[in-house]
Symmetry: C3
């Protein structure tokens, strides 16, 4: 099974599907998303870290690649029973650690057994294009990894341990007493606004201030009237700023990267 994540829109992902299927027409392909925020490495890390741990052991192709055509490396990462293939720009590390956690226990980025994350460099030939390495580099690499199997990655011809690579860690909010200071990590298609404040910060709280404005804490969207603001613990495990049947980003006036200060009131 190979999962596919990219910011390619359409129809470029189909070229990657074709390349993989040309290597082995029996390969199971599962799309994660191809409308990840464009050329936004951190957003791709956030969403793949969220989604990929739901999958059984698989090869995960992640192509968000603002450096396409430069000499940045191609990485293959083993994470527990999973493998990931991605450009060397940091995108792959957060989901890799989450997959290692999911394989071996532990929480979000928390207790990953570092032995369960091995980073390799994949040596690719001069590609057919300098603008579409998803087709010319990463899809063939994913097909090759899928072919040998995750446990045999090290045996691939073109593989060598990566001496150095770009790392990336998604930010976590600072909590001091009743105040958490963080930022907006993501806004989803519903407008739900995911902050970097861990959901446990809301334990037992019934009201907070979000950047100064009082807001009820709800256990579900429907705990406030239609159109009403709330903060809640979302499915990512973080505090979200949401609106029941509305867009939290618009009502709270928040975008990705904005600072958020949340204060427990009662």
């Amino acid at each position: 099974m190979i999962t596919l994540s990219s910011d390619f829109g359409s129809p470029y992902p189909a070229a990657m599907r074709g390349v993989v299927l040309s290597q082995d027409p029996e390969t199971r392909l599962v799309d994660v998303a191809h409308d990840l925020p464009r050329q936004d490495v951190r957003a791709a890390a956030f969403w793949t870290r969220f989604v990929l741990p739901e999958f059984p052991p698989a090869v995960h192709l992640i192509v968000v690649d603002p450096g396409v055509g430069t000499d940045r490396a191609a990485l293959v990462v083993r994470a527990g029973d999973h493998a990931l293939v991605a450009p060397d720009n940091g995108v792959v590390l957060p989901p890799a650690r989450a997959l290692a956690d999911a394989s071996g226990g532990g929480g979000r980025d928390g207790g990953a057994d570092e032995d369960e994350v091995e980073v390799f460099e994949y040596d690719y030939d001069d590609p057919a294009s300098n603008t579409f390495h998803g087709r010319d580099v990463f899809a063939p690499a994913a097909a090759a990894v899928h072919d040998v199997g995750v446990s045999e990655i090290g045996a691939l011809d073109r593989i060598s341990p990566a001496d150095e690579y770009v790392d990336l860690t998604l930010p976590e909010a600072e909590v001091a007493g009743d105040v958490a200071r963080g930022e907006v990590l993501a806004v989803d298609d519903f407008g739900n606004t995911v902050t970097s404040v861990d959901g446990t910060f809301l334990d037992g709280a019934s009201r907070v201030r979000v950047n100064g404005e009082e807001t009820p804490v709800g256990s579900s969207f429907a705990s406030v009237p239609v159109g009403g603001r709330l903060v809640t613990v979302g499915s990512h495990g973080y505090v979200e700023c949401d609106v029941n049947r509305g867009r939290g980003d618009e009502v709270f006036g928040l975008s990705v990267g904005d600072e958020v200060e949340i204060t427990r009131v009662e």
Copy 2:
């Protein structure tokens, strides 16, 4: 085979795919749509009623769920050789009746053998989130139904007959002589505007008035010049207000839920 319908946009549907494949990596998954009109139960009922009867026997997951996180039940419905899994908000009944019709003969909502539609409640544990029951409740339920098979639904541990549930019937227009009074059920991506007036109303007509404005009846888009208005019988079996290579909704000034009066002129 499990089909997936939701209003989740992207990338949330991938989490549901992962959950199902974690139960059984061999499960065939087929997407219906994940951009159904947001939190619009009636629209989801309309589109799934239209699309699902094209499929061979399958488990159909439908998650349009404005009540997520409340105590609304999760339903499993057997409809002929098919099963459906959805929140208890009415969305599942119109496609279930259509699937029962398709299994046993009969028309759209018309002659469904009610014995062929059995509604069960699915008893779920406290879910991991209150915001994403697609991942935490409905995908696991669909996987469980798929695992036992449609004919054995009643044998599932967590299943019991639903004593009561939210029902929903899509409206049909009233016809009195040469006049049909209905409403707009759906506008598709092309702008084709589907009314609740049954297509048979146009039998033998060559011109009608739509909310007062004369419009030719066409057998196809190309029966009028490019940019021209027409009414025709669409693929859903209803009278549509369309424009050849243009957007009917804009030219007719119609949106979902608007009243439509169609009068046969000749």
Copy 3:
């Protein structure tokens, strides 16, 4: 394996999936794109010619069909080891020739062995609708072709050699000395603006004028600063007018069909 390309948006493609799977639930389905530029036959020809040659032998369904409901024929085309199914409006010929080239060697539209492209007409019954032949005509035709296999197309009951059909060739730019005159063939989701000028025109050039404005030639997006203009050879093999991490169409002021004159400066 059947690939699916259309301009149907959502959820109509799911009806085609259901129709194919009702014929044979084991059929492998792979989406190419369903958001091809609406009712734009040339764009569909461009994108499918680009993507389909990446695939192993398959049946390729292409439904961009402004003439739906008229008496235009349904075509089945054998191209090397592949088959294509599409309305008779020209869309199918460019990808068919590319697939024949890919099967037998040769370049883009260049050296196709014409014996490797056989065009058949598919005789269909009166369809259930005049607005959705993707469901009522083309999906059943693709399922039938898939069922007999590409090499046995001629043996299908409903098939006969097409005496005449609409042909289409994508335009190629004229080159005279240091000047190439062509047009914009496509703008992708990133805003990269693909011209009809063959990439070889840039061999050895470091600067060009695009419609009078000097622009560097880059080997990759990152060869110019973020936000900077460049021309480069894209993954389609054509000269593209791009912006590093920006939209080339907006910065160059170009849309599909616009004339482009590119002059080598040094």
